[in-house]
């Protein structure tokens, strides 16, 4: 809402640190509304920070070992945390008591490396164990309920490699933005694609030229592009292929459209994140002495745009805001830096009817500018101008805020996968708002 008054041309990447949250966290993730960040800590606590007040508003204390990942349901009501203590906990921020009670606990057979909600239904959870296995856990009522391992089927001749077709450990697992597919990266540098509903593998992609073990995956919001982070210290962007709904298996080598790396220091990357419009890509450098974020301009053929310097505490994680030009980057000391792109103060805004110009303009007086006019005439004209109806209800741009109808080329709502995901829906509604809990120190 404020954007139209500030400056419509400042769609850019962040440039400066706005605030530093003393959060003791190992990573921080924005919620889909952009109002909060969820921070996971080494001591097993997850904290929810309000970005308006820059203070912690909820403590989620349930794990006994480090929190490894955190995810938000689509309207931010549910929070999922995974931990090295073999558990995944789902928290309900709408619960009336404080601290919030756990909504569900999922017990796994090994330390959990990461977990995430299905983008359309928080009752479907994807978990990656540090043993290299991926499970899709459905918490809905029967017949959905269950725990299914997503695995690469054995048996098919692996391009003549015969016996050596051993299964690689799975190192990263993510839903795509539609939730129809699960993308899994392996230690062998493969990307495996599963259908979330049928839980079968529908595609296997080798990364052209090889890449080493995959460490991270991020999608542009529209789901058409995908960026990978791998152990060869290179970020690669791919165009996501169209998968057939018929379920035919696709074996395809993927050629990256861009490769991003640091040609001088050859640093590895701790994290990678797209901007909400997909026009920028941020990479968090695994530099041992500096907090550095590299920004590439995707709309400009992936050109390197700038480096953000966040001081001496090395970077551990970063995440781009869901709608604004803002990044949350976590230092290895546990502080969360919130980056923004500041606007220059326009002093002209303090004077009514005053407009700043960038360059001097020769003023040309209008023919009738200083004519003395009949007051009655002015009044009449003013009245006339006020005849027009005003619309005080319609909110501009409201519809485009919510989920786009078309993601990845297919219309949502019509097909089987979407219907499957929407069955037995959670009660995470748009209108939900988090209660204010007063600090006790009065």
């Amino acid at each position: 809402m404020n954007e139209s008054l500030i400056n419509p041309f400042n769609i850019t990447h962040p440039t400066a640190v706005q605030a530093s949250l003393f959060a003791l966290g190992s990573f921080a993730r924005f919620d889909p509304s952009g109002r909060f960040v969820g921070v996971g800590r080494f001591d097993g606590v997850a904290t929810i920070w309000d970005l308006d007040t820059k203070s912690a508003v909820r403590w989620l204390d349930g794990h006994v070992k480090a929190v490894t990942s955190l995810d938000w349901s689509r309207h931010s009501r549910y929070v999922l945390t995974s931990s090295k203590d073999w558990n995944v906990i789902v928290w309900d921020l709408a619960s009336i008591c404080d601290p919030p009670q756990r909504h569900a606990t999922i017990r796994c057979d090994a330390p959990v490396s990461s977990a995430s909600f299905h983008p359309r239904n928080s009752r479907i959870v994807l978990t990656l164990l540090n043993t290299g296995e991926v499970y899709l856990i459905d918490l809905r009522k029967a017949p959905h309920r269950g725990r299914t391992e997503l695995f690469e089927p054995e048996g098919d001749e692996d391009e003549g490699q015969g016996q050596s077709s051993r299964r690689y450990a799975m190192t990263v697992a993510r839903f795509d933005p539609t939730g129809k597919f699960v993308f899994v990266g392996t230690s062998g540098g493969y990307i495996l694609v599963f259908n979330s509903r049928s839980k079968t593998m529908i595609a296997r992609h080798r990364i052209s030229g090889g890449s080493g073990s995959l460490k991270g995956l991020d999608f542009a919001k529209n789901g058409r592009r995908l960026v990978t982070n791998s152990s060869d210290r290179t970020l690669r962007q791919f165009i996501v292929p169209r998968y057939l709904s018929s379920g035919e298996f696709l074996e395809q080598e993927l050629e990256p459209t861009h490769r991003f790396n640091d040609p001088i220091n050859k640093t590895a990357w701790h994290a990678v994140s797209y901007s909400p419009d997909g026009e920028w890509l941020a990479g968090g450098a695994a530099d041992a002495a500096m907090h550095k974020i590299y920004i590439w301009d995707i709309s400009n053929d992936g050109q390197f745009a700038s480096t953000l310097d966040g001081g001496r505490e090395p970077l551990a994680h970063l995440h781009w805001h869901p709608s604004k030009s803002s990044i949350a980057s976590t230092t290895n000391q546990g502080n969360v830096l919130i980056w923004h792109s500041p606007n220059a103060e326009r002093w002209g805004a303090f004077a009514g009817g005053f407009e700043e110009v960038d360059e001097n303009v020769e003023y040309e007086e209008r023919e009738d500018e200083f004519d003395i006019e009949d007051e009655a005439e002015i009044l009449r004209r003013k009245k006339e101008a006020e005849q027009e109806e005003v619309d005080i209800d319609t909110i501009e741009g409201e519809s485009q805020i919510h989920e786009p109808d078309e993601v990845n080329g297919s219309v949502i709502g019509g097909d089987e996968d979407t219907r499957w995901a929407d069955e037995d829906a959670d009660d995470d509604v748009v209108t939900w708002k988090m209660r204010i809990v007063m600090d006790d120190d009065i």
């Binding site: 008054l5 007040t53 508003v57």
Partner: protein, 339 residues
């Protein structure tokens, strides 16, 4: 919202124009066959000094009132019964605001504090200090994690509600700030003051984004955003209410007919099926305009003094109004013609 309590005493009190028939239920104008048909339903008495502000709860079931008697009172909208009285402020209270779920109430007082009341417990849970003079106006943002306030120290302040801390102090105006409001998504703040300026601020950065000023610079009494935040409704002490498009800095509607020269009288938007502008007046009536035609549709007669505090119900055709010292009553007006 009681205008400048100190200065107020010096003002010659407006002559109480003898009403020909003060208790007439059906005012003679305009044409009675046209909507609205607001009729007085309840008279709520309890306050012992002027009532400064009235606000309906977000669900409309309760009405909160506050005044110079340092009290906050809660009333049942549909029965007119008193539910609670909250006391704690050391001086008169100028304004109150509800949090989005009706759980808390914030009050702004001449004792320079803003207090937050937990309505389930019926107690004060926060007392926020920082203003160096009377706090005159207060409002919550839509998520109710922030408060904005304005006062006689000429600043606009943004507060962290949960922590009770001041987040920003905006040196906003050069005269007492009379009214502040957040827009529908909380990204903008509008403030107006006795210096006659209406300023729009960016909540996040605290930067001034726009200033609106009328040619004659009249003292601004009250300002609020329209439901879609495309306009601001401003009442000024030249007996005029204007609807501004702040993007183009143009006044798109002007509402006249009432009298407002001395007090910071509230102007409200009734946004039910029909859309009205409602305001108090120093001629003791309550005026109802048609939003689009700017015509006075009804003038509600009953109060015996200036009607300062006005509130419109969020979902139904109900108006609450309150009078100054010579009246002290809160009246609830219902339009039940469509029911």
């Amino acid at each position: 919202m009681e205008a400048a309590p100190q200065e107020l005493v010096l003002e010659p009190a407006p002559e109480p124009a003898p009403e020909p028939a003060p208790e007439t239920k059906d005012p003679p104008f305009p044409a009675p066959q046209q909507k609205p048909f607001f009729k007085q339903k309840y008279i709520l008495s309890g306050h012992t000094k002027s009532v400064a502000s009235l606000k309906f709860s977000p669900d409309g079931s309760n009405l909160a009132s506050c005044g110079a008697d340092k009290l906050i009172k809660l009333w049942d909208t549909y029965t007119g019964e008193i539910l609670h009285t909250l006391e704690g402020h050391e001086e008169g209270i100028s304004d109150i605001a509800w949090s989005f779920n009706g759980e808390f109430l914030a009050s702004a007082s001449d004792d320079k504090t803003i207090r937050i009341w937990d309505l389930a417990l019926g107690t004060e849970v926060k007392c926020m200090q920082g203003h160096t003079s009377f706090v005159f106006c207060v409002n919550y943002n839509p998520n109710s994690n922030l408060l904005v306030s304005g006062g006689f120290d000429e600043t606009v302040r943004v507060w962290d509600v949960a922590g009770g801390k001041s987040l920003k102090v905006l040196p906003a105006h050069s005269d007492p700030v009379t009214s502040v409001d957040f827009n529908h998504d909380g990204t903008l703040i509008v403030s107006c003051a006795m210096d006659g300026l209406i300023r729009i601020w960016d909540t996040d950065s605290g930067q001034c984004l726009k200033t609106l000023v009328d040619d004659d610079n009249p003292i601004c009494s009250n300002v609020k955003f329209s439901p879609n935040s495309r306009f601001v409704l401003v009442s000024t002490q030249d007996s005029t209410i204007r609807l501004w498009n702040y993007h183009t800095s143009r006044c798109v509607k002007t509402y006249v007919g009432h009298t407002n020269r001395t007090y910071c009288i509230f102007a409200c938007l009734s946004n039910t099926k029909e859309k009205y502008i409602v305001s108090g007046s120093e001629d003791h009536k309550v005026y109802v305009w048609n939003l689009q035609t700017c015509q006075v549709m009804q003038a509600l007669v009953g109060h015996r003094d200036t009607t300062l505090a006005i509130a419109t119900h969020p979902t139904q055709d109900i108006i609450a109004s309150a009078g100054l010292e010579k009246d002290l009553t809160i009246r609830l007006w219902f339009d039940e013609s469509s029911a």
